[in-house]
Symmetry: none
Subunit: 200 residues, 4 copies
């Protein structure tokens, strides 16, 4: 368990802060998330361990901080008027992120760690997953108003249909996320699985 009492953020050393984030980025690429220890970060950043423990509760929290700006920028949500295309684009961006040697493995590791770290789970949710879901739902609402999407669908369930498969494949490794996957899943989610009666 970290931290004694809350330190004063006003007196935080900018140099140490950025050195830690830079070293973290470096070490994830070099040795991988799992092999990277807090001691290694401290040593690589030229920083005392306490300085890390003072500001972050865990290795995962450091990685998350190092991460979030890039991820946010890379997952900007488009609105071209074509719902299918927009979600395909978004899922493709998620796929690309998951294949980046910096982000992919450590996203996996962060989600893994969040399974036994409530605080981290909350942070991941607030900073990564929830904003993405919110954007997606917003896009669907627009599509509902444009009468492209049914008005009675539960938007959370819709997000499950559109995004759930990505996480299932990414985390369970039950199938690879291939280049044509984004379009396939979006089309299927929009069209549904059921056979329609032929129109007479």
């Amino acid at each position: 368990m970290p931290n004694d009492r809350s330190p004063d953020p006003a007196r935080r050393s900018e140099r140490a802060h950025t050195a830690i984030l830079a070293a973290t980025r470096e070490l994830i690429m070099t040795m991988g998330y799992d092999a990277m220890t807090i001691e290694a970060i401290a040593s690589a950043a030229g920083v005392g361990k306490q300085t890390i423990y003072r500001w972050w509760p865990s290795k995962a929290a450091v990685v998350l901080d190092m991460w979030v700006p890039d991820v946010e920028q890379q997952l900007a949500f488009p609105d071209t008027g074509d719902v299918a295309a927009d979600f395909t684009t978004q899922i493709r961006a998620m796929m690309e992120l998951s294949q980046d040697p910096l982000f992919g493995p450590s996203l996996r590791a962060l989600i893994a760690e969040a399974q036994h770290d409530q605080a981290l789970a909350q942070k991941l949710l607030d900073r990564i997953f929830a904003p993405r879901a919110e954007q997606g739902k917003e896009r669907l609402r627009a599509a509902q108003q444009a009468r492209q999407v049914r008005g009675d669908v539960d938007l959370d369930v819709a997000m499950d249909l559109l995004y759930g498969g990505f996480y299932r494949r990414f985390l369970l490794r039950i199938a690879p996320v291939t280049a044509d996957y984004p379009k396939a899943v979006v089309d299927a989610a929009l069209a549904g699985l059921m056979r329609r009666r032929t129109r007479r």
Copy 2:
């Protein structure tokens, strides 16, 4: 990685084997998966650590072995002729499993551990996830032949639609898996999100 050389399974002590699995079950309930160490299992089972390392590569593998029979039995796939009802039943079973104090937390932990343990990932896939997916796809194939489900859907994508949401909610904790969720997601997946042109 453990194990000396492959031991002789014929000489394996049945007493030790069952004691280990029983102690594992006990300790997961008592102290939780994460706090449970291999040393604790050995001690609780009255067994040498080496005996565990001899037959399993990791704590997770022990848990998986202890688990699989129960899970298989609890996730039997029904075929009542009603596709929607069958998948709803199946997802509801997954939900219940995930809320069981023995299975839920350790399923999470196992998936977490599989993120940095290829061998475990493979084992989980082969013994838990893939069989479930295969049953689901089989059921869909039957539904296709009954002309209930479209013949052109990619069955893997269909599984993503139906099951992906569960994992997304379970692992990302982005929303709880409530009692009415299984039906909602199945209905949405079957119907699709898109608005249909009114039939004239």
Copy 3:
């Protein structure tokens, strides 16, 4: 080694100075010399750590400063004309000091620390031990002139005989310094151990 450059004693804060000494006295009684850290003194005195480091090189030096006036006053050397009685008095005073809950434990601690801190050793010597020895030797010189003590004895060796036992018992804990010890050791030192030939 502390201190930047020598600070200006004229501008020293009297308030901080006395607060530090008072807190030190307090904390030694409360938590004992060893558990007391410079951080604790600073905090208890409501003073910055730097203010301590500015004026003292070590925790031991602070304690010594807090100490010396009391010790000096308590170890005043008497001259009643009776050498034996005077040294007995002096050693008894040392004994009492060593049993005082403030001085005893921290005298031990200071001597201990002086074993690996040359500067402290010198300071202890100059301010505590050497003055005491000088007084003792002075008293012996007077006794020599009064033809009570042999003129050929090495006064430093004499001090070893008279005082050495006290430190041996105090530091090695080889035997307690009891109430009758001072007289016993003084008598023995004066008389010597050797058997005299009976005068004819």
Copy 4:
């Protein structure tokens, strides 16, 4: 604070044990007692830190164990029939020990550490100081029976006279222990400080 529960000495690794003592001896010479850490000993001995903590409560205890055989052998007490000569020899041996670069500094350090470590103090007493004192007193008893030493002297006080000065000089550094010191102090202790009335 060390050790959980007492380990089984029968299963102790002889290799690790001797490697630790050898590394300790080596490091004291190399870097000095104070700079030597338990981590350094472990690393130099090719041993886990836990193995040291399992068998010894502190660095000092390791040094003591490494030490005692040599010290015992070097401080064998002679009996030549000449009390003065015998004690002179013994004190000279103590002096030489105290000037040995292996033993001197670490004897100082051990005594220092014993000031705040009761268990160590007891161990030092039992294994180093008390046996020496016992030998000295035994020698004095023999001298008493040979009617060389007065029958009424308290032998503990006699030991203070003979040995106390050594520790006073060694620990307080109030004066060096020179080559002629042993004889001087023994002579003075035997003869006493008091002036005798001239025999008529």
